[in-house]
């Protein structure tokens, strides 16, 4: 078994047997309510379609496209509507979901998704609206953008916002490109971005994508940015620092104002990664911390559903200094109505460009606005308080059993543990996580942040009840006792009660099969 530096096993410990993938080795075709379900390519038929068309009176003449058309229809099977429903409902039952139980992925903010947002986003006036309709016909949509911008600016204390970035990492890119443009406008091209060692992987990846060198800032023993290391690394070559606050250890950067001061003194900008804004919304405004730019994951703090990996939305709030460089488009109050500025032109135009086609994730704007309006200023403040209270409750309940990475002082919205407590048991963080699945729980974030060995990062969010957290903590306490009692087999064989046993990631990467072939 090989290990990454943070202790994550990268090789499976078993030798899988070849199998046709159709039936289980013991011949079952289902288990309880769980039906086995092949790929559509194995069950669909090439001459079936689940869509009927109005073909009466339709004549086809494709002679104008001679030489440009396919010889045959694409080689994809079709399913009737009943078969389609079965296929996807059967597949859905193999997924964990926030609607089923706590989803304690640290750094991911998996909270309840109100269905009001789904209903509102599907109103014909929002869903059935083309992005390039005349502006007189989309005043309500521009109103949503305008109002969302107002809420985001007010909650962060920042004077401007670029709504269009499509996810958190896209927002990071937007922020760094605004920073790059601001430096270039001063004739002060800079080369380097600093990120703490505990940063999300997207931070260094974004900085590199934006054309910067990346340098890491060391962390102190109590899980914060090392000020002296920061001061030593700042200089005229540094364009920006990217700092998540609360950070990925779940801790508030106590010296944040000094961090901002040092950064600004060096002529650099402070990019705030807003992934963890949920912990402070309504209680702390990033502008008051000295932030120059920060993305806000609407799919985290403002509860638009994560959808199995997206879509997200990552608006970026900007300081007055960076605002002129915001990308197109943006909404302005015209003489008689709201208008969308889609092209920055003329003398003095400084917009750095465009992040994507059209105007960003309108469907997410509506959901996020519904969520904000529902909570209001008072509810959002309570969100932060309950998120932090829940995380500290879990930290308190589990600290005697697992090893808290930073035991002293409160955590913010997530509780971080390391694998010190597993030493000598033969059980790894991965084993422990997989054994949680057998108890009906989704594991916490594992092996992140990288600064803690065998990390287990638990973020309950404010939408867990005390009862659900107690169920979760009781289960983890029992499981930890089993690990310490030497029941290694239970952990190595886990999960045994999931739809599948542990999957071989090494095999998948060694001989990639990325599409189905007959």
């Amino acid at each position: 078994m090989t290990l990454q530096s943070v202790g994550r096993p990268t090789r499976a410990e078993f030798q899988p047997q070849a199998n046709d993938g159709q039936a289980r080795p013991d011949g079952r075709i289902g288990q309880g309510l769980l039906q086995d379900e092949p790929l559509i390519f194995e069950r669909g038929r090439w001459d079936v379609s689940g869509v009927d068309f109005d073909l009466e009176g339709e004549t086809f003449d494709e002679s104008d496209l001679a030489g440009l058309t396919r010889a045959e229809a694409p080689a994809l099977p079709g399913l009737s509507e009943p078969e389609t429903l079965r296929h996807y409902v059967r597949l859905s039952q193999r997924n964990h979901a926030i609607d089923l139980a706590i989803y304690p992925l640290g750094s991911c903010t998996m909270k309840h998704n109100p269905r009001l947002g789904e209903k509102m986003a599907r109103l014909a006036g929002f869903a059935d609206l083309h992005p390039l309709q005349p502006m007189t016909t989309v005043q309500g949509a521009l109103g949503v953008m305008n109002e969302l911008a107002h809420w985001l600016q007010t909650l962060t204390g920042m004077p401007a916002v670029a709504l269009s970035p499509k996810a958190g990492a896209h927002g990071e890119l937007c922020g760094l490109l605004a920073i790059r443009a601001a430096h270039e406008a001063r004739g002060d091209a800079r080369t380097t971005v600093l990120t703490p060692t505990s940063a999300h992987g997207t931070n260094p990846a974004t900085a590199a994508l934006a054309g910067y060198e990346v340098q890491e800032i060391a962390q102190t023993a109590d899980g914060r940015v090392d000020l002296s290391d920061l001061a030593a690394k700042l200089g005229p070559h540094v364009a920006a620092i990217m700092v998540t606050n609360p950070n990925t250890c779940g801790l508030f950067e106590r010296d944040i104002i000094e961090i901002a001061r040092l950064t600004h003194a060096a002529g650099a900008f402070f990019y705030g990664d807003g992934a963890n804004f949920n912990a402070i919304v309504g209680r702390v405004r990033p502008a008051d911390l000295g932030v120059d730019a920060m993305h806000i994951n609407l799919h985290k703090t403002f509860s638009t559903p994560h959808g199995g990996g997206g879509p997200g939305s990552g608006p970026v709030v900007l300081s007055a200094e960076l605002a002129p460089f915001a990308p197109t488009p943006w909404v302005v109050h015209g003489a008689e109505a709201l208008e969308l500025v889609e092209h920055a032109e003329g003398a003095g135009a400084q917009a750095f460009g465009r992040m994507c086609a059209f105007h960003g994730q309108m469907g997410m704007y509506v959901r996020a606005l519904a969520y904000m309006m529902s909570h209001g200023a008072d509810g959002l403040r309570q969100v932060a308080e309950d998120a932090v209270l829940n995380a500290n409750y879990i930290k308190a309940r589990l600290s005697g059993v697992l090893s808290a990475a930073f035991p002293d002082g409160p955590c913010m919205h997530e509780a971080l543990f390391d694998d010190t407590w597993l030493e000598g048991t033969g059980v790894t963080t991965l084993d422990f996580a997989k054994a949680m699945i057998d108890l009906g729980f989704h594991p916490m974030t594992m092996y992140f942040p990288l600064v803690v060995h065998g990390a287990m990062l638990i973020e309950p969010t404010e939408t867990e009840s005390r009862r659900e957290m107690d169920r979760f903590c009781d289960a983890l306490i029992d499981l930890a006792a089993a690990a310490k009692a030497g029941d290694v087999e239970r952990f190595k064989a886990a999960p045994r009660h999931a739809p599948l046993a542990r999957l071989d990631e090494t095999l998948a990467a060694r001989k990639p099969r990325l599409t189905w072939t007959a």
Partner: protein, 449 residues
Amino acid sequence: MRYLPLTAADRTDMLGMIGAASIETLFADVPAAARLEGLIDLPRQASEAAVERRLSALAGRNRAAGAGPFFLGAGAYRHHVPASVDHLIQRSEFLTSYTPYQPEIAQGTLQVLFEFQTQVATLLGLPVANASMYDGSTACAEAVMMAARVTKRRKAVLSGGVHPHYAASTHTLAHAAGVKTQRLVAAIDDEAAVIGAIDAETACVVVQTPNVFGTVTDVSAIAQAAHAAGALLIVVTTEAVSLGLLKSPGDMGADIAVAEGQSIGNALNFGGPYVGLFACREALARQMPGRLCGETLDAEGRRGFVLTLSTREQHIRRDKATSNICTNSGLCALAFSIHMSLLGGEGLRTLARINHARAQATRDALAAVPGVEMLTSRFFNEFAVRLPRPAAPVVEALARRDVLAGVPVSRLDPGAGLDDVLLVCATETTLPGDIDALASALAEELRPT
């Protein structure tokens, strides 16, 4: 507050159990200067009914595309989406799940992604596809960055038929990374100019078909010219339904094909969320951006699926990753995949043929309007016409007659000098009465007074 389960008694008990005097204790690390004591100046919490009233009022101030004759395309297309698609994507297990980091309890999402990748690869005619990008425009920008990595060259040639928003998004990203983009002059058809612009410095050529003016191009000759110069060919498609009728990018020699998948399974949504499709040749797979789902076996030898080749990605490779993308468009990819499963290849082809036929009928009706000049001869479901005067005011005037006539080129590309050009699109949702309404309203508007 209806979304918060903790009661006041819970909070008090829990603080006691933690050993904190008050909630303030838990925020002790926040500098005093940054702690807000009172409430932020925003409205207070509101009932579901109140929020619904407010947002419904805003929605009511928009003219829904389906409320009358409608002819807009240019990168976003109005198609009928079967009811079962929207029902299925609202299953809790799809809607409220995360990126499948624990594959044993995420096989639903993972199998969908594997099926999605196979559908996308088949439609684009290339062996490998990823698990989605944000949208077509960002997929295009990432493809250019990928081509620069693969060829170790720093210049991209963009056809003048590439959607101006795609060109701008690509330029924005490439510029920061030091990759030069050469965008050719906007033209209905610029095959020869594209071939002429390829040189030994060229990392890639980006060609859109059908292009923003609707022109369908066989890009084989461009592929040959690009490959002869050691450059890659990136083919962009903004209307995925066209793939049911037209030759696939891969069949015409594309090395990377990107597309906007919104047309299949996804509503217009005023521009987002959409879903980017991304496929490439097998040899380039390890340079792809984004998530990839792969087949593997579980400990008992059963087939299963996992996210794979993640050493390309930001959470492992950090500043050496192929992209910074993390969250993508999972649920929109699911909608695409369900709609595609319902259609099947034959159904998609029939749908595409209907689209083409409705566009031909629209063309015929507009060709009869005095003063309208047809510009696009080989089109799928949209085409460009020249009007006797600037198109934007005409579109505004027709909107007042409740006819949404199309997209003026000046809206997308004010500097192109094509202010009198209008892009008109028809789909299977366009009915004969809509076409008549457009033709007669346009004729009246253009009639000399």
